[in-house]
């Protein structure tokens, strides 16, 4: 009973455990796998990512010679980044990946890999 009262008083005086999400950004770690990016300029179209993708989300465009991702199918397993020989596929810390229209998931998020030596 005494411990309960102490706990109640503590919880009254302390800050809430939850964060005010839309106003306040959520904290994620450095290794967090968020949105998938492909640096299409440096892609060598070797198709290893296509072969290793469990859901078929990543497909190599044979005419343009780079990988194209459908982010609505991606399950963020990180297998493509693991097998990529030139490290052009990477995951940013961006966790807000919802889109209003289905075709917006095929919009590519390009950009060079900020951690080129490291895996996923």
């Amino acid at each position: 009973m005494v411990s309960m009262i102490i706990k109640v008083l503590k919880n009254l005086l302390s800050k809430p455990f939850t964060s005010k999400y839309p106003k306040e950004k959520a904290k994620v770690s450095v290794n967090f796998r968020g949105a998938i990016h492909v640096d299409q300029e440096n892609c060598i179209a070797c198709r290893l990512c296509e072969v290793n993708c469990p859901t078929g989300a990543i497909v190599v465009d044979t005419k343009k010679n780079y990988a194209v991702v459908d982010r609505s199918l991606c399950i963020l397993c990180g297998m493509c980044a693991e097998v990529c020989p030139v490290n052009v596929i990477w995951f940013s810390n961006d966790y807000e990946n919802a889109e209003k229209k289905k075709k917006d998931f095929r919009k590519q998020l390009p950009g060079p890999n900020p951690r080129p030596g490291k895996r996923s």
């Binding site: 455990f17 290794n31 967090f32 072969v51 993708c53 469990p54 399950i75 990180g78 297998m79 996923s120």
Partner: protein, 386 residues
Amino acid sequence: MHDKIFPIGPQHPSLKEPIFLKLHVDGSYITKAEFNLGYAHRGVEKCAEGYLLDTALHAVQRTCGICSQCHSLAFLNAVEPMAGIEVPDKVYLQRLLSAELERIHSHLLWGGLMAHEIGLETLFMYYWREREHILDVFDDLTGNRVHHSPDLIGTAKRAFNRKNLDFILEKLDLIEPEVKELKEVMRSERVITSRFKKHGMIPRKMAIDLGLVGPTARGSGVENDVRVHDPYMAYAFKELKVKPVVRNECDSWGRSMVRCDEVFESIGLIRKACEMIDPKEDVPKRKNVFAKGTYGRGRSEAPRGENFHFVKVENNRISRIKMRTPTLANLICYSRIMEGEDITDVPVIMMSLDPCISCMERVAVIRNEKKEVWTSHELFEGKKHD
């Protein structure tokens, strides 16, 4: 005698997952219980057919959201001896860390849901607040909070460093006293004990006869734990011997206390494993895997019990994979356990078994009066040949 049928589910506020319970009641007492399944078939096994081994690993992990690491361990137990790969100790220890953290997170999740079923919403919040710390640890270690997929065949995606290990220990120090207090609340609160004690009885003999697994069997005095009687990976190390938590109460209370105590057992294991890991050592790089054998089978201890995988490989691709999740083994006791109970106790008894129905669902065959058998070819085509 007024025999009436009382339906619960497949969509019902007291059920978290789709199962249809058909309760024959006399007044408010249950005389007979039946259940129907087949409302959430996802087809992970079919999906994994034709995949490369590494890719199939990531598909298999998606079977369950709560125990994804344990599915991956069972699959690796099947595949790694088949491919003849030697795995370094550090990788084994990293896998143990993920698996045991997952056990803590699963049991805390169960505690919250149990409190929710009884109606103690505040206790539910307290349990899930502690669970949030474990999810933060997963985010830091592996990069994802729920489907963390840290494994590759023969190695891991990244090596844990000193900072990661310190973060784990820091969070464990934070949650241990809190979980102890929550257990004390469970032990002393009359509302909880009166709903649990002497309800949902599974005698020891019945648990052995039906072949129950996991905390459900351990709550009935059966020492059934894959980590002990068939140690795999890091559980086979001398320093990391698991002491199974066994209780002899045989009721919902026994099963609940087993889960509460297992959290502390897991915390102890993680502390020992953190000491054994060399933070400076790197894990080997990923290699392409070639399976030499054709068949493999693996087991692992998921938070709910024994998890079994059978893998068949042809031309280095998966040709058949069969999973048996712990809920399938425990499902058989559902109709027996409900007999003679009051109808208001059904949600609590269901929760004390910790069902994970959607992971267990494999195939739905609807029977009319005749028995129907579908071959795998017919299932693939989706129609029955005569």
